[in-house]
Amino acid sequence: MSRRTALVTGACLCAAAPKRHAAAFTPPQGERPLYGAQLWSLPNGLRVAFVQSRRVPVICQYLFYGAGGGEDPEGLSGIAHYLEHMMFKGSRNVPSGALSQRVAREGGNDNAFTSRDVTAYFQQVEASHLALIMGMEADRCAHPLFPPPEMAAELSVVLEERRQRTDSNPRALFREAFQAGMWGRQHWHGRPIIGWPEEIRAIRHADLVAFFERWYAPANAVLVIAGDAEPAALERLVEQHYGGVPARPTTPRDRAPPPPAPVERRLVTRSAAIREGSFLRAWFAPTLTYGEAEQAWPLEVLAHMLGGGQGSLLHEALVETGIAVTANAGYDADAVGAGEFLVSAMPGRGTAPERLEAAAAAVIEKLLQEGANPALVARSIRQITAGALLSLDGIGAAPRMLGTALASGLPVEVVEYWPSRIRAVTPEQVTAAARAVLGAPLDAIGWLLPETT
């Protein structure tokens, strides 16, 4: 039932899903790109990527903007997301709500999402309707209306969305408080993407317009088309619809570094509304765009080895012993600015929190002292990369990965050659990255506990 906005939260707190990519580098001789995307740019600065797939007569369009919740101005968190909602309220040649209706009339789907790093609008339709969706997307890229009379009802919708995702979910509230505690309530990484409630209410029409003017220039956008189209015809269509969007100056993102140490080292929340506890431990970490970027790929391997399901170190020490019912590690290499490495676990019935915390710390301490086991590194690399080609099954994965990377300022090789980048990671690099990140005394710990415990 959740429509319109798949709010992508930056930190994945759940399972350590198998990952993608590889930083900018020269691909090994003979290595084929995963998607073979064609790239070009328009004079107004819009970058375009096309991935052909002729399996069925279907096409999808994604327009990514290089701005997300991380670009919200201080004190006005939630603008990027509220703006995304208001982008459906009409443009010069398309009445409010008509984009979705016209797409549906042709049997298609459309939606949008706001993450910390990007905002993306997308449609999927039968291939002959590409011109229709391009025309409408280009129109709102150039001339959105943001009609003031529709702002109040949409504000209510956003607040209901927040109540649904966060305010009526003690675990989501806790994760939000943990992020704010670690990075700071007004730090770009510490604020919720949907915004603090009082700040969402404070957003004015002029704030939306200013955000749009600042970030939604064609030169700060990436158009990704995937599906059944002829390259030459597609190029003409892109030029016809997007070529006329006026160029505007852009200024690069300027994201603050993390605080010198977590603002709150330990957050313990007791809640009568929950029945099972939850443990979080997070460290500031480099990414492909921040800090010691060469540690980013080894950290992806480390996350799998430490908490990527059965056979991982945390699973063995916590879940197989009954101390915890779940234990995971997560890390995203391809974020904009500073990132984090996260460990999470749910204690077993009757496990004292101290026992779980000590057992998790012991796993990490042992890893830091002994270094990464080469056999485990090899197994993690194999399991992370084994399914790379599965993302060709379906047409949504390629545009999402390409658009996110390009709009985050990363080169296309990060997506096209990620498996060989992961395969190039050595046990020594994993050890070094683990010592640099998990060995630094810059972690934050969080406990959500039932009130009765």
Partner: protein, 417 residues
């Protein structure tokens, strides 16, 4: 054009097992899905979750492979193999790269024919399931769903959670899990659907490898679904600023000649996207919710008409009043001609979108088989849809929709009810 778009479906048989196949070699991936009747429908009161626990344990060690070795064998080749206990059926399936299909077959066959049910695996999976069941009850959605189904079907498996409750899961003996395996995983009564890079000869061999060694005889049929009990409204108090609301009423049989007319009418009333009357009235015009939808929910060959939304506690009464008014307006007048045309255009035009990935294609084919549809169901669907008149939609709305007979389960602190 999208008229009747469907990939050609072949029927492949081997050893008395038939599979529907859409063959496509453009991507080196194969997806299989198969099912039997049964699932949670075969569980007695107090045993709920037995079949779900069994389903989880099938991939937690089989043959000579202990749990971790089995998991490594799957993950080393990126094979996603899983089993799922549903309200009235049991499904298995895998997706694998073409080169990994032999390994996937070996593991899937082992899981079905020689699951280990090791004590340590059972203890671990049970602990996770109990924690999961307790966590579901932390959420207003979980509480509202539990209240809705338990009240609508108090003396039937449909009224109990397929995943079990913390209490039932804690008490299930290992013998009951083995018994659930023995009654469910059979060679007969199987429906199979396949999509992707596999040809008919390969599929014939696959069917034999995968299923021929299973014990003969089909799982028994679960008890027929009793009539839906209209329970008015039921509130589960929860300390949150927002209430989660589920509503529902009886619908129609999957084989009812009005099935597709009902789909069209409900698309107009509460279908996905922004065009539905409920979305317009409740979200777009009044800002009362992030999302509202209503549609057919199929179980035991019947469909209920169910829907849901979440709104702040102070607005529950208003949201329900608006929803009921839309229900009544549709029951009395049916859709307009323009709404009819839009809804049918959507349902026709969206057909190719169901064929973009192999897992989804296999799932679509399996649903057709479970609903006993003929092979040409999708190909002939546009013509059938085009023949549905506005008057027929009005008649089906009048026949089905009961604005005064909506049962409502609410979790939260609703005001003014």
């Amino acid at each position: 054009m999208a008229e009747g778009f469907t990939l050609p479906i072949q029927v492949i048989e081997s050893d008395g097992i038939s599979a529907w196949l859409t063959e496509d070699h453009s991507v080196p991936v194969v997806s299989l899905a198969w099912s039997w009747q049964g699932g949670a429908g075969l569980e007695k009161a107090g045993e709920e979750g037995t079949t779900a626990l069994m389903a989880s344990l099938l991939t937690e060690g089989a043959g000579d492979l202990r749990a971790r070795e089995f998991a490594d064998a799957l993950r080393d080749d990126a094979i996603s193999l899983s089993f799922d206990s549903q309200r009235d059926g049991f499904e298995g399936g895998f997706r694998a790269l073409r080169d990994a299909v032999p390994a996937a077959l070996r593991l899937a066959r082992l899981a079905m024919t020689a699951p280990r049910f090791d004590a340590d695996a059972l203890q671990r999976v049970r602990a996770r399931a109990v924690a999961g069941a307790r966590q579901v009850m932390e959420t207003p959605g979980g509480q509202a769903r539990r209240a809705f189904w338990a009240t609508a079907f108090p003396d039937h498996p449909a009224g109990r959670p397929t995943g079990g409750t913390a209490e039932s899961l804690a008490a299930i003996p290992e013998a009951a899990i083995r018994a659930a395996h023995a009654r469910q995983i059979r060679r007969d009564g199987l429906l199979v659907a396949v999509a992707g890079a596999i040809n008919p000869a390969e599929l014939r061999a696959l069917l034999t490898t995968l299923f021929a060694a299973l014990p003969p005889g089909a799982p028994e049929a679960p008890p027929a679904l009793p009539p839906f009990i209209d329970f008015g409204s039921r509130v589960v108090p929860m300390p949150f600023p927002q209430s989660t609301i589920l509503f529902g009423q009886p619908g129609l049989a999957v084989q009812d000649p009005d099935w597709e007319a009902a789909q069209v009418m409900l698309r107009v009333l509460g279908g996905g996207g922004f065009s539905s009357r409920l979305m317009q009235a409740v979200r777009v015009q009044r800002g009362l919710t992030y999302g509202i939808s209503a549609g057919l929910d199929v179980l035991y060959g019947q469909a209920l008409i169910t829907g849901g939304l979440a709104t702040q506690n102070a607005k529950v009464a208003e949201a329900l009043t608006v929803t009921t008014a839309e229900w009544r307006r549709m029951a009395e007048d049916g859709p307009t001609e323009a709404e009819r045309a839009d809804a049918i255009a959507y349902l026709r035009g969206s057909l190719p979108l169901q064929f973009t990935d192999s897992r989804r294609i296999a799932g679509t084919l399996l649903s057709l088989r479970r609903n006993n549809r003929p092979l040409d169901w999708l190909a002939a669907r546009p013509a059938r849809l085009a023949a549905i008149s506005r008057d027929r939609l009005a008649a089906v709305a009048s026949r089905l929709l009961k604005p005064d007979g909506l049962s409502v389960a609410i979790a939260g602190q609703p005001a003014g009810l």
